[in-house]
């Protein structure tokens, strides 16, 4: 129970958002940047601030919040700290949906076709995971099912991109596996936003159910929680968030693992309080990672997933170690 947690996270996200706007390959002064962004002064600088840096910072917040929220909800529902969209194959399946939509031309059909296709891929993987692992499945089954789904989706992404008539497509396998926010535009913000809002709303409705689930599935049912409805909201919400995030930024792993893990002790391990905290924490982590890629190698388009994995994979190993010692 800490009343300063949410305001503190909001302040952190705001500070990182401002930093993201002010950092870029073109050296523009702080005053000049803000004047261009807010008042629209200076033709070329306005274009840089409003069409290049603003969408990048906005997507950092949106994608990070989506991944943090989806991770917290999945972990609450499966009562397993190892559940994470990247690790259980949801991100890879969403990426496969997006790649198929792009290469078949379906994505050009109507405005929201790309995120809708990614959502479809994500739904399939979440349903598969729930069927295979379910709320009572062991961590082992969850991780094995996740590995299988990730491997298959990853292989199919490589296949589709290698068969593409576009000579650049095959080089983009790494984007779809590792994610990046470089050169995204307001078009991407507009495509992702409706799905992310709908997904966040669906998961927000699950918060009481998730609290009850901490006592076990039977106890939750006896408290009047409709498990079918809870499961449906969770599948739709997670898939919409992860699908939209992956469609615009590629598959970025470990955000949904690290953030809930760090924040859980601060909210008394209560899922309903963990959800908003994880959304803010995810936004902060992704903004920080996106700032770091621009500072470390400004002109190399370093992938976001590289940084999140460097932070996240050791934690993942630590969690597996703890799970093993607990004898699960």
């Amino acid at each position: 129970m800490n009343h300063w947690l949410i305001p503190g996270l909001v302040a952190l996200v705001a500070a990182l958002f401002a930093a993201s706007l002010l950092i870029g390959p073109a050296a523009i002064g702080v005053g000049e940047s803000l004047a261009a962004l807010i008042r629209g002064e200076g033709e070329a600088v306005v274009l840089v601030m409003r069409e290049i840096r603003l969408p990048r910072a906005l997507l950092g917040v949106m994608v990070g919040a989506s991944l943090g929220l989806a991770g917290a909800a999945l972990q609450g529902f499966l009562r397993n700290p190892l559940a994470e969209p990247g690790l259980i194959g949801t991100s890879a399946s969403a990426a496969l949906g997006a790649v198929l939509a792009l290469q078949t031309g379906f994505a050009a059909g109507f405005a929201l076709a790309l995120p809708a296709a990614a959502l479809t891929g994500a739904v399939i993987s979440v349903v598969l995971i729930l069927l295979l692992a379910g709320p009572r499945g062991s961590s082992l089954v969850l991780i094995l099912a996740g590995i299988a789904i990730s491997a298959l989706a990853g292989a199919l992404i490589s296949l589709v991109l290698n068969l593409s008539p576009n000579p650049f497509a095959a080089n983009e396998i790494v984007f779809w596996m590792m994610g990046s926010l470089t050169d995204r535009s307001m078009d991407h913000v507009r495509a992702a936003a409706p799905f992310m809002l709908a997904g966040a709303a669906a998961l927000w409705l699950t918060r009481r159910g998730l609290d009850a689930m901490t006592l076990g599935e039977d106890a939750a049912a006896s408290m009047g929680i409709a498990l079918t409805r809870l499961r449906l909201l969770l599948v739709i919400g997670t898939a919409a968030l992860v699908g939209a995030a992956t469609a615009v930024a590629g598959a970025i792993g470990f955000v949904g693992l690290v953030v809930p893990h760090i924040l859980r002790p601060w909210v008394g391990a209560q899922p309903s309080r963990l959800l908003p905290a994880s959304a803010l924490g995810g936004a902060a982590m992704l903004l920080a990672a996106d700032i770091a890629v621009r500072l470390i190698a400004p002109e190399r388009d370093l992938k976001l997933g590289v940084l999140t994995a460097i932070v996240g994979a050791p934690l993942f190993l630590h969690l597996i170690w703890k799970t093993r010692r607990a004898g699960l």
Partner: protein
Amino acid sequence: MSGCARAFDLLTAAALGLWLGAAAAPAVAEAPGDPSGDPSGNPSGAPGRVVSINLCTDQLAMLLAAPGQLVSVSHLALDPRSSAMAAEAAAYPVNHGQAEEVFLLAPDLVLAGTFTPRATLAMLDRLGIPVVTLAPAGSLADVREGMIAVGRALGRGAEGAAMARRFDADLAALHDDPPRRPRAALYYANGYTLGGGTLSGEILAAAGFDNIAAEAGLTGGGVLPLERLVLADPDFIVMGESYPGASRAEELLTHPALRTLMDTRAGGVFADRDWLCGTPHVLRAVAALREARRALETAP
């Protein structure tokens, strides 16, 4: 498509058979090329059967070879996006640059690029097939050197030298001193741009433009982030044609910031085929750009 796949299967099967035959009777392997002797195998010193496995040597060979001398070009030569001679290439059987299929064509000379996979070059060497490699042209001077080198390799030195002289004369005819050199940017997929020390950079300079990449401190090729392109404020933007199928790399070229910039700047899409290889066709690229520059001068 299935016919193509079947042909490929047949080719593989035939290659296997030939390999076994060659192993059993060394005399068969001698035909493609005897490493100890003169590679040409005919009295004039010119190779009789030439196979090209590189897009750029394909085009130079088609321009310079004697009738019947060139027996196969690479499949890339058929792609009208990257090949300036796709129509001419249709008259030749194509190869896919694999040592096995090249061996089956029994060449006494293979023309390759210096970026042809090393494993392929090593295999051709082991099979005793003479290979001449041509480095990609990095300047207009390299273009004329390439014409002379390929001419000499084909035993058509006079034709190669004549082509180089004609190239020099045509290039000189395209030269003029503009009153003001507009500042241009070459901008391709992934934000790739080319500066001095590249063929594209020299084409741009020969057409009378200054290059934004030089101001940005780039020589050779490199990535120019979109926001730096916008701030550099070029007068003219040269972009490449887009390929079928989707890619994130080319999505950058339809970014709203670039579209807005293009609304108020001159620019154009120029086909890659005239820019990629050091052939006489680069003069078409110079001429097209020069026309665009003149239009810019007369514009109000």
